[in-house]
């Protein structure tokens, strides 16, 4: 087991290094750089000589390999560098930005899971009833529809209705959890789609298994069968796709934080892309990749705990 974990850890490090290097190469290929964006701004009215001096002091004209060695060495020492655009240490910017995105991720993931579970429960409960079957089919189609809704549109509509029209919650000037409530729930709807689809498919598979018929024959109530037997057994495959959902949350955070004016990592990423602020962008890429890797890692470890069969079969394969 220890050896397995160690191999996985090395694997994760390799993925991190790969993402770091690839992003560096891609940013090098883009025309121009952050120093150019910042100092060639005509509003500053700098002379060509002054701009050349600025470029020299930032080392912007050194060879790509020298820059890469410098950036990699610095990062290995735990120094994420400075943002050229704002002049702040990248570590400080990340420290200020991550809580919002973390809260947004928690609210939207919980919301998505709850939404998926409700869809699933309704679909199962109604499918037993001859009339409800049509309703169940309609509910089964909801994830397909919500996955197609552009998240920025949904959010703008949510703001217009909830905040501007019904005046339930303001969109500006909030902090902490209240700031991510509306954006989190709006983001939850599209990201719940894959969860709900997997959840429903798994629940229908479990429902068709013989032990459910046995439970029914023994007179266990449908509700109890649902929450004590079907849903828990349908949960593991749903959690497996949470890695995918994490990616959707990160991508959604860029749009959501921009629409709602939140100060999270997504907003930071968007600004860093716009100004080609390499240090900031690479730090965000490192964080995102670490998130992906550790969630995949965690779900591999949790799976056997939730479903003993998975651990057994893995062992059987191994020996």
């Amino acid at each position: 087991m220890i050896r397995y974990l160690f191999t996985r850890f090395l694997h994760a490090l390799f993925v991190l290094w790969g993402a770091f290097t690839l992003s560096f190469v891609l940013l090098q290929v883009m025309p121009g750089d952050a120093v150019l964006v910042k100092f060639q701004d005509p509003e500053l009215g700098l002379s060509p000589q002054q701009i050349a001096d600025m470029r020299a002091t930032y080392g912007a004209d050194e060879s790509a390999i020298t820059q890469y060695a410098h950036v990699l060495g610095r990062t290995l020492h735990g120094n994420l560098g400075y943002s050229i655009e704002t002049g702040l240490p990248v570590g400080q910017m990340l420290h200020a930005a991550y809580p919002t995105t973390l809260r947004l991720a928690i609210v939207s993931f919980t919301g998505a899971l709850a939404f998926a579970a409700i869809c699933c429960a309704l679909a199962i409960l109604l499918s037993g009833n001859p009339v409800g079957r049509y309703l169940a089919a309609a509910i089964g189609a909801i994830p397909g529809i919500t996955s197609g809704i552009p998240v920025f549109w949904l959010e703008i509509v949510a703001i217009q209705l909830v905040s501007f029209h019904w005046k339930l919650i303001p969109v500006v000037g909030l902090s902490g959890w209240s700031a991510v409530l509306l954006p989190g729930l709006a983001l939850a709807i599209p990201i719940s789609a894959p969860l709900a689809q997997v959840f429903m498919a798994a629940a229908h598979r479990v429902e068709a298994l013989p032990f459910i018929d046995v439970l029914r024959a023994r007179g266990v109530s449908p509700l109890r069968i649902l929450y004590a037997h079907i849903l828990p057994n349908a949960l593991p495959p749903t959690l497996t796709v949470s890695g995918l959902v994490f990616g959707e949350i990160l991508a959604g955070a860029v749009v959501t934080e921009t629409v709602f004016g939140l100060d999270g990592l997504g907003q930071l990423a968007q600004q860093a892309v716009a100004s080609q602020d390499v240090a900031v962008l690479q730090a965000i890429i490192l964080i995102s990749v670490s998130g992906f890797v550790s969630i995949g890692f965690a779900s591999e470890i949790i799976q056997p705990l939730l479903d003993p069969r998975i651990g057994r079969s893995a062992r059987q394969r191994k020996y």
């Binding site: 992003s23 883009m30 025309p31 121009g32 952050a34 150019l36 964006v37 060639q40 005509p42 509003e43 500053l44 009215g45 700098l46 002379s47 060509p48 002054q50 701009i51 001096d53 600025m54 002091t57 400075y82 943002s83 655009e85 704002t86 002049g87 702040l88 200020a96 552009p150 920025f152 703008i156 703001i159 217009q160 905040s163 501007f164 005046k167 969109v171 500006v172 000037g173 990616g247 990160l250 991508a251 860029v254 749009v255 921009t258 004016g261 939140l262 100060d263 990592l265 997504g266 907003q267 930071l268 990423a269 968007q270 600004q271 892309v273 716009a274 100004s275 965000i284 890429i285 995102s288």
Partner: protein, 566 residues
């Protein structure tokens, strides 16, 4: 990685939304008409309110963009100016009605006959918010930095200060500045946000540290209390402030307790939040949103930014626009009134020269800016660009198509260019509207072969603004040889440059204004520029916001502002 990849999709979605104003033409026209009756056109200063002043409240201000480096010479960027105007004082104050330069931190000044030596006497009681006195040494260090820059600290020189040589401290309250050549624009230059005075401690810090608002120590009525980068900034009033500009008397502390500036980039959210009462004041209201603001009983403010008008300028280094007849033809093919009627409101006056009509030295050239598509066609034929059956014009097999980048800071730039493309199409000229990443835009705009056209505008109330915009070593909007660009092969206009230098150094005020007239003449006679409109900054304030003020180039001043909320 995922986040980076998704950005283009996101950008496309928002770009699509940019087109919305075009879809709302007829709606806009209605709004524009309704705005006629309520709008305040031109250099508007709201009347002092008669109601009893209420003090000690917090104003919530929604900004479109986050501030960047708060080094005062970078104060031209609207969000920066909006903060620096509250946090810093200047030596002098330019009266927004008369445009005369009045005393502020400097109580008096003497200027020698050839405008090379300026002596300022300072108020004795002024301090920076870190307790350091605003004395002659501090002021000298400020202008040494703004006048010449500080390479070691990456601090660039200010574009409003020309020919600066050195300073001399005569006594703790008297400072003298020396110039290598006459610098008649310097007195007005001491009044602009770009010359905001900051604590000497700050001037020893590198440019990188000027991004954090909390580091900015000025002597203004507000201090920066908190700064969340890219998100919000909180300003708190200084209780011991007693040296406000005389035009805004009484000169005591600010009436607001605090100003909270939140960055809300999405137009619909900013305006929606304002209309639903979640904010007191917002910047950047597009013309098509003006009607919503006034209909709901709120107030619009559209102070002029003066200076060089919002214009489309040519880069004659590109062969296609090297011929004056081609440039003149495109000027004639531009129906500026249709642009204003379709996209803008009465807050956007039609340009009558390259300078705004409320800038010193303005001369009315409307007669030369008329719309005449017939003459345009004739001129293009004469220049050898003949119309082919496909509708476009060609010369030696080359199509007459010209590129221009959308200019994000200017109101409805994309819509305006789309309309311009439609107008030019009628005479057979193709306008290619380009977009790209910020770095690409910067690079393209330095290359006259990619962008023979450029959207230019510079706000400042002094005629020196002409040099800022057109001189090769300044913004160089025409891309003459001798500027930043490595792509310019030959174009230079020595006569125009001579006039620009003369404006920046002519000491006789009357003669200087004549030179300003000559520059306007030279640029329009050569058809280097198609001036479109005088650019205002449009703000909206709730009905309970009183005594709003705007300095000479339209940046908000919250010093006397108060809120009458229960």
């Amino acid at each position: 990685m995922k986040a980076a990849i998704t950005t283009p999709a996101w950008a496309t979605l928002f770009k699509t939304m940019d087109y919305m104003p075009l879809l709302r033409h007829s709606f806009c026209a209605t709004l524009a008409v309704s705005a006629l009756f309520v709008g305040n056109v031109g250099g508007y200063t709201p009347p002092l309110s008669a109601a009893p002043v209420q003090q000690g409240r917090t104003l919530l201000y929604l900004e479109k963009q986050a501030h960047k480096s708060l080094y005062p010479p970078a104060g031209g960027f609207y969000p920066n100016g909006g903060i620096l105007a509250q946090v810093t004082d200047r030596l002098t104050w330019q009266n927004t009605q008369t445009l005369r330069v009045e005393p502020w931190i400097a109580t008096s000044w003497q200027i020698n006959a050839d405008n090379t030596v300026y002596t300022f006497t300072l108020r004795p009681d002024v301090t920076f918010s870190d307790g350091t006195p605003v004395d002659a040494a501090a002021v000298a260090l400020n202008f040494d930095t703004y006048g010449k820059g500080n390479k070691a600290l990456h601090l660039p020189p200010s574009e409003v200060i020309n020919n600066y040589d050195h300073s001399e401290v005569l006594d703790p309250h008297t400072v003298r500045f020396y110039f290598s050549k006459p610098a008649p624009g310097f007195l007005q230059g001491t009044s602009v946000i770009g010359s905001g005075l900051v604590s000497p401690h700050l001037l020893h810090k590198p440019l990188e540290q000027w991004g954090d608002g909390r580091n900015i120590i000025g002597s203004g009525p507000f201090v920066v209390q908190d700064d969340v980068p890219g998100k919000s900034i909180t300003l708190r009033a200084r209780p011991d402030y007693t040296w406000g500009p005389p035009e805004l008397a009484p000169q005591g502390p600010a009436r607001l307790d605090a100003i909270r500036i939140l960055v809300v980039p999405e137009d619909s959210i900013r305006i929606g939040a304002f209309l639903s009462g979640q904010a007191d004041f917002i910047r950047e209201v597009e013309a098509y949103d003006e009607g919503q603001i006034t209909r709901s009983g709120n107030r619009l403010y559209a102070p002029s930014t003066r200076g060089v008008n919002d214009s489309v300028v040519f880069r004659p280094d590109n062969d296609k626009v090297a011929d004056r007849r081609v440039r003149l033809a495109l000027l004639r093919a531009t129906d500026r009134e249709e642009i204003l009627r379709t996209l803008f409101s009465p807050h956007y006056p039609l340009a009558r020269s390259i300078l705004a009509s409320d800038t010193q030295g303005f001369q009315d050239h409307s007669a030369e800016l008329g719309y005449d598509p017939e003459q345009a066609r004739h001129l293009l034929d004469e220049a050898g660009w003949l119309q082919h059956p496909d509708g476009w014009r060609y010369r030696n097999g080359q199509i007459l198509s010209l590129g221009i980048h959308v200019s994000a800071p200017h109101p409805q730039s994309r819509s305006m260019l789309v309309l311009l493309a439609q107008q030019w199409r009628k005479v057979g000229v193709r306008l290619d509207i380009l977009t790209g990443s910020p770095a690409m835009v910067v690079l393209d705009d330095l290359d006259p072969h990619t962008t023979p056209l450029y959207q230019a505008e510079v706000g400042r109330a002094d005629p020196d603004v002409l040099k800022s915009a057109y001189y090769p070593t300044n913004r160089n909007v025409l891309l003459q040889k001798g500027g930043q660009s490595q792509h310019v092969a030959h174009f230079t206009d020595p006569e125009c440059n001579r006039l620009l230098l003369a404006v920046a150094s002519e000491t006789d005020p009357k003669r200087r204004l004549e030179l300003v007239a000559d520059v306007q003449n030279a640029i329009l006679t050569n058809a280097y520029s198609i001036p479109i409109f005088e650019e205002p900054q449009v703000f909206a304030g709730a009905a309970h916001v009183h005594d709003m003020h705007f300095e000479a180039v339209g940046r908000p001043v919250f010093y006397r502002t108060w809120l009458d909320q229960p």
